[in-house]
Amino acid sequence: MIEPPGSIIVVRNLTIGYGGNIVLDRLNFEVRRGEVFAILGTSGSGKSTLLKHMIGLYQPLSGEVLISGENLAAAEGPARLRILRKFGVMYQSSALFGSLTAVENVRLPLDEFTTLCDEAKDLIALSKLRLVGLESAAMKLPSDLSGGMQKRAAIARAIVLDPCILFLDEPSAGLDPITSAGLDALIRELAKGLGITFVMVTHELPSIYSVADRVIMLDPKARGIVAEGSPSWLREHATQPWVRNFLKREAA
């Protein structure tokens, strides 16, 4: 399969669903290298389900997701592991291991996938925690961290193996506006400083305008993408009025 130039993720004719129900039908879109890409939609439109298909947690009914030209769903063994190493994921609930401290959580992938010495692993884990502003909370357990700190620690864990793509599931959900803005700033820094491509599922409008270069809008009725483009352009020029209302936070 030939990858379009500049694209790091290509979704082709992807149909997803469960138990005979089709949630999203024949989706086609691309994520460009280095951009912050957001998947938007109303509740129940299949945003998180799409994300879980993109990271290979679920098998699609048909179609494929190519990450750097490789199909994760069809890969097995070492090939699958090689693709998985290309991206990190931050889950909505942070999914930090509760019995490990923040630094142990971040160190875990290094322990499992590298042969580095302990000093190197500690230095890297601590540098990632410093990148997300959590160096002083390294020895704390997740239960002793606030929601925003947990999300930052989850980002530190997701980037510890230097992935080129980072998937974020609702990064701002449940956070206060100040913490949420701090997280947006971190996403911008990481995208610019480390060249990481971001794919995020969200419906936090301030976050979308603050960080997203391009968005797609999912519609549960159409079971597909109804709009694609930069958020500020779509707010004024989307053909569907409800997309404009969504981006202006106005009732339909």
């Binding site: 019995s99 010495c117 000093e119 230095l123 160096e135 510890v160 400083g193």
Partner: protein
């Protein structure tokens, strides 16, 4: 010193002694996770073997450098491999220079120096005693509250959510029948086998029937049924209530004006009290059923004789003793499991801990109660 030519490595490095104590270290290629561990070890050996007063690291020809490579550069930069030397890095791209800024020796030292302080023995003993006393107080409060609510529900049956009682009855009782039958049949069979041989030596093999009848009715029927109830259903009660507590469902009940004990616990305790005698009767029969084939086919006694022996040995009093025990055991298992569920703390291991505590406490209390009842009935029978 010649450039390192290690095969299969994506990076090459060269250690050049420029003048007295001054060393130039040059990297070429990709310093990534696969290459760094080897480079790290090799450099540690090379640099510790020579005297270095100043180290210049030339990173200009590094095509790629990931976090592990930067960790190595930082380790070198902080003089960990060349103690006392001045270190300078040149040729690093501004992006990598930026990320290198996120490494910190202070953070590293803080982590290395962090050792949890162990508590002294008196503090440990004090904490354990306080926790034990608190647990006892909570148990007493819980028993009082459950008893009051149960009495209220018995006086006014409309207060009881009978649908939930029947659901628990089905889940914890009816669905447990196959496993209870299997285990107690096997236990009955083992007892018959183990006692047949020594009794044969005494010429009293027919006493196996008597032994089996008494043991299954008075002791093993109630105890086995209760232990299986604790392991199978008590643990489920604790996990269910524990998860509800973690998910703040118990808080939701309280703010709706519903007491968790009245809403969740009383039904389970009522179901436990009602189903344990039934389950015990079933276990008694299953145990006998497991032992009878041994008497028929191994000891070669005719069926009417075996049945007559069992009927003759087991009195109504023995059955009543077994059923009374089962009532006590059922109450213990259901209430202790619910209490442990409600006591669930915070953290990822909380529900698991509650489940373990529910099974351990239930079995311990079953055995204690069994011993107590056995000694009382022994005294009464004399």
């Amino acid at each position: 010193m010649p450039a390192n030519e290690a095969p299969n490595l994506s990076v090459r490095w060269e250690v050049l002694k420029a003048s007295e104590g001054a060393v130039l270290l040059t990297f070429r290629g990709d310093l990534d996770t696969s290459a760094t561990p080897t480079v790290w070890q090799a450099l540690e050996k090379e640099l510790l073997g020579i005297e270095v007063s100043s180290l210049e690291i030339d990173a200009q020809h590094l095509a790629y450098c990931d976090s592990s490579g930067l960790a190595l550069l930082y380790y070198l930069y902080t003089g960990r491999m060349t103690p006392g030397a001045t270190v300078r890095i040149s040729g690093l791209s501004p992006e990598l220079q930026n990320i290198l800024g996120s490494f910190s020796l202070d953070d590293f030292k803080a982590l290395q120096g962090h050792h949890p302080v162990p508590r002294s023995l008196p503090v440990e003993v004090g904490a354990a005693t306080t926790s034990l006393l608190r647990d006892l107080r909570e148990q007493l409060e819980f028993i009082g509250e459950v008893t009051m609510d149960l009495a209220a529900s018995v006086c006014r049956p409309r207060l009881m959510r009978w649908k939930e009682v029947f659901r628990v009855f089905e889940v914890a009782g009816v669905n447990a029948l196959p496993i209870v039958a299997l285990i107690t049949m096997l236990v009955g069979m083992v007892i018959a086998f183990e006692s047949a041989q020594p009794l044969e030596e005494l010429g009293a093999q027919i006493m196996v029937a008597k032994l089996l009848g008494l043991v299954m009715t008075r002791e093993l029927g109630p105890v086995m049924a209760a232990i299986m109830l604790a392991a199978r259903s008590g643990s489920a009660f604790a996990a269910e209530l524990g998860t509800m507590k973690v998910n703040e469902e118990l808080n939701a009940l309280q703010t709706m004006g519903l007491a968790p004990i009245q809403f969740l616990v009383v039904q389970r305790v009522m179901a436990g009290i009602l189903l344990t005698p039934v389950l015990t009767m079933y276990a008694m029969y299953a145990g006998l059923l497991g032992g009878v084939p041994v008497l028929l086919f191994v000891c070669k006694f005719p069926l009417p004789m075996v049945l007559e022996e069992i009927q003759g040995s087991v009195q109504y009093g023995d059955l009543a003793e077994g059923l009374c025990k089962s009532l006590v055991f059922g109450t213990i298992v259901a209430s202790v499991s619910c209490l442990r569920g409600l006591q669930t703390g915070v953290g990822p291991r909380a529900v698991g801990d509650s489940t373990t505590r529910s099974v351990v406490s239930s079995i311990l209390l079953i055995i204690l109660a069994d011993g107590l009842i056995a000694s009382i009935t022994y005294t009464l029978r004399r």
